[in-house]
Amino acid sequence: MEQALRPSTGSGSAGQDKATLLGDVRVLDLADAKGVYCAKLLADLGADVVRVEPPGGDPLRNLPPFYHDQPHPERSLYWFHFNTNKRGITLDLERADGRALFRRLVQRADVLVETFPPGHLAARGLGYDALAELNPRLIVTSITGFGQWGPYKDFKASDITSLAMSGVLTLAGLPEDPPNRLWGSQAYHMGSVQAAVGTLMALYERELSGLGQQVDVSLQEAASMAQETAMQQFDIKGVIRRRVGGRRAFPASGIYECADGHVFLSIIAGYGATWDDMLSWMASEGKEGDLLEPQWQEVIAVVNDFRSLMALAVDAKKLAERLRQFQHVDQLVEAFLRPQTKQGLYDAAQSRRIMLVPISSPADLLASEQLAALEFFHQVAHAELGATLTYPGGPYHFSATPWRIRQRAPLIGEHNDEVFCQELGLSHQELSLLKAAGAI
């Protein structure tokens, strides 16, 4: 485990260190929870992201969980997680002097990420058209519940309402319970990922045209692809998909209880291991029941054949005839898995190429040999807490421009001097006056 942890410089300013993918890109981050991950994606690839907070601190600093459960704007783990590698300034955009300073920042910026209701910035003279006049190379990435235009553009949205409107939520959960929210603001994650794709596409295109543009992201649209086949099922077959829970009609497909938690098992005909492999595994421990007897050969042949299963999936009557047989097979699988541990099952199954994985808890992930070998986790120093915390890493490894956490999330106004005085050229006296007036 230890060797997997990489040191980080922890605090201070983002230095011009080793090659980074986006080291020359300057981003202003005005996003709320909908887009804070978009700017993190850019910051973690080396972009200089300046998070603009209202004086006194960002509302996201009040979100739990808190370090050692002590609620405080400098202790929010939510804030820590989503603002790695960013610098932080305070600025009141409701004041004319605040907006004047913001315009100067915009002149030097490549990207602005924002999540205000459509029209909110324009009403303050900071809409896309006004900002593009100041800086034609600027890319404005706007993430909202429903996009910048259309009959629902002014509707309010949160993570759960966006999952609902996108068609994703209707697929998750057990039939006997309400549909079940995906964990951890996934509509915001999907919206932010799509927004980062759009932002980078616009940055790439700007290399050729020299011009910026606006990238309009609707959370509803950004999540739509996560409906899997539901849209095509309705379009092509006229059938509506809805939640069916963790288990499917076919045996050995879904979530199973074991001695210390749960595992997910899937034997799909035509991919990887077959039922013969599964039965030989069960038989090696004397748990195959009667499944190797001749009367079950025909059933095993059916579940071993992708096309027969696909045909059953669309034929309710034929499937119903098979269900008792399938249940018998599944009960034996269940009894075989139940007394074993998830790690034991994982290793044994994989040695037979059987697709079984643990339902990993965060503790399992921290203990994962594989994530350790990939050096996934990163150590980040928090001098103010007198602590070094272990953070999740990024989704990718670049050979020339490594993904790194160079510094922890900013403290309130931590980079005011650096940004306003050293970069915009304000005197310390001017900064003090702006602070006293409440603009910073």
């Binding site: 995906l182 290399e207 749960h262 669309v314 490894h397």
Partner: protein
């Protein structure tokens, strides 16, 4: 010039970029769809001897079962792309590959490392023919480490990656998302981010690079604070169902059902039923939104109860609060609840199904999110459009998904410079099948 190519326009942001796409199933092809729909020329390698499983997956029109060009699952993920027949088990296929790599900007693959090693395909080999190539591997668990050869697919990554454990209702078993969740937006999105960043970096430095994007790491990286909560506070987050610690009411509320009969795809196959089960999602974070909710409901006595006036009070009496609110939603259709709540500044959303999103949703229709394309064998079907709208250089679905091997001749002759005779020989040798 062949007449079966996706339309081109210099206004598309990725016009002029060529991608050799070895990926299959969902997580890779969706990333290259994003790039293809914005102008990149994406060439899928396909073989009748090693079919992309989505070509034989449902939904397929009833009259077309067995037709390899009619899966809606496959077609949706492959708009604007080309398809090249190539049988990688035939050694002469290597020369075809290296010729294509030489004229490509990016290579994307998501096979098991075992398969890639067997074929002798890697970044190190590719850079010998194209020094500035951008090569992306998207294996399940990485190219290194003790589990690099472990078997998996989209359905195993959601549980392995931690999402399934965290989902579910308090005191109930873990559930999962009901889909291969990270396959559709998270993994493809991360992949597209890496490619676009690397393309820009190459343009500025002349340097290509190798990107390793394991689906496992991509999936663990989006668990919000679950990792930090464990490492900083030694706690594993509880399953919260539809609630949030900092909002109330927050959840799904049952609405009045419809009598109209529709056909649901149940775990036992298609079944006609009234569309009786309707839900609205409601999320109230602030006291101002709470007062808006009260006004939307016509200011009922229970909503004026002092116990509900603050977030702390609403959290302390959340079960009672939810019962009162559901008493209101039960009496009306979900869409009426949506409009009434939104008119009072409350975040609300109908739990829409595919009939709602594809056929009725006024916002998606106005914005033209779903795109209908004519396909010579599958007929007219709906595709997901671009997931973001660029104001100056918008993406567009330039052509329906390719027929299996449709562009073999074009790619071999026009891009790779094979003569008619050479192509004929490759066909005879079974390389192009």
């Amino acid at each position: 010039m062949a007449d079966n190519l996706p339309s081109t326009s210099p206004r598309l942001p990725l016009a002029g970029i060529r991608i050799a796409d070895f990926s299959w199933f969902g997580a890779g092809p969706i990333a290259t769809k994003l790039l293809a729909d914005h102008g990149a020329e994406v060439i899928r390698f396909e073989s009748q001897t090693h079919l992309d499983g989505l070509r034989i997956a449902q939904p397929v029109p009833d009259a077309k079962v067995g037709n390899l060009n009619c899966s809606g699952y496959y077609n949706n993920f492959n708009s604007s792309k080309l398809s090249l027949f190539l049988n990688l088990s035939k050694p002469p296929s290597r020369e075809v590959i290296w010729r294509l790599v030489k004229v490509s900007d990016v290579v994307v693959e998501n096979f098991s490392p075992r398969v890639m090693e067997g074929w002798g395909l890697s970044y190190e080999e590719a850079r010998k023919v194209r020094p500035d190539i951008i090569w992306v591997d998207q294996p399940m668990q990485g190219l290194r480490g003790p589990h690099k050869y472990y078997a998996g697919f989209g359905a195993t990554i959601t549980p392995l990656g931690g999402m399934a454990y965290l989902m579910g209702f308090p005191g109930r078993p873990p559930l999962g998302t009901g889909t291969n969740y990270t396959d559709y937006v998270i993994n493809p999105g991360h992949l597209a981010i890496s490619v676009l960043g690397a393309l820009r970096y190459r343009r500025r430095t002349g340097q290509g690079q190798h990107i390793e994007m394991s689906q496992f790491e991509s999936s663990v990286s989006i668990l919000e604070t679950a990792i930090l909560e464990h490492t900083a506070n030694g706690r594993i987050p509880e399953r919260l169902g539809n609630r949030l610690p900092y909002a109330a009411p927050h959840g799904l509320y049952r609405c009045r059902g419809e009598e109209r009969v529709v056909t649901y795809l149940s775990e036992r196959g298609p079944a006609p039923e009234p569309k009786a089960e309707r839900w609205v999602a409601i999320a109230v974070f602030t006291d101002a939104e709470w007062r808006g909710l009260g006004a939307a409901l016509g200011d009922p006595a229970w909503a004026r109860d002092e116990r509900f006036a603050t977030l702390a009070g609403r959290k302390a009496h959340e079960d009672e609060l939810d019962r009162h609110l559901e008493g209101w939603t039960r009496q009306r259709p979900a869409e009426e609840a949506l409009f009434t709540l939104q008119a009072h500044g409350v975040a609300a959303g109908v739990v829409q199904d595919a009939e709602d999103t594809l056929r009725h949703d006024p916002q998606l229709r106005a914005r033209g999110y779903y795109v209908r394309l004519n396909h010579p064998e599958a007929g007219q079907t709906a595709y997901d459009g671009p997931p973001f709208q660029m104001s100056r250089t918008p993406g567009s679905l330039r052509r329906h998904a390719p027929l299996l091997g449709e562009h073999t001749e074009y790619v071999c002759k026009e891009l790779l410079g094979y003569t008619d005779d050479e192509v004929a020989q490759l066909i005879v040798d079974g390389v192009l099948e």
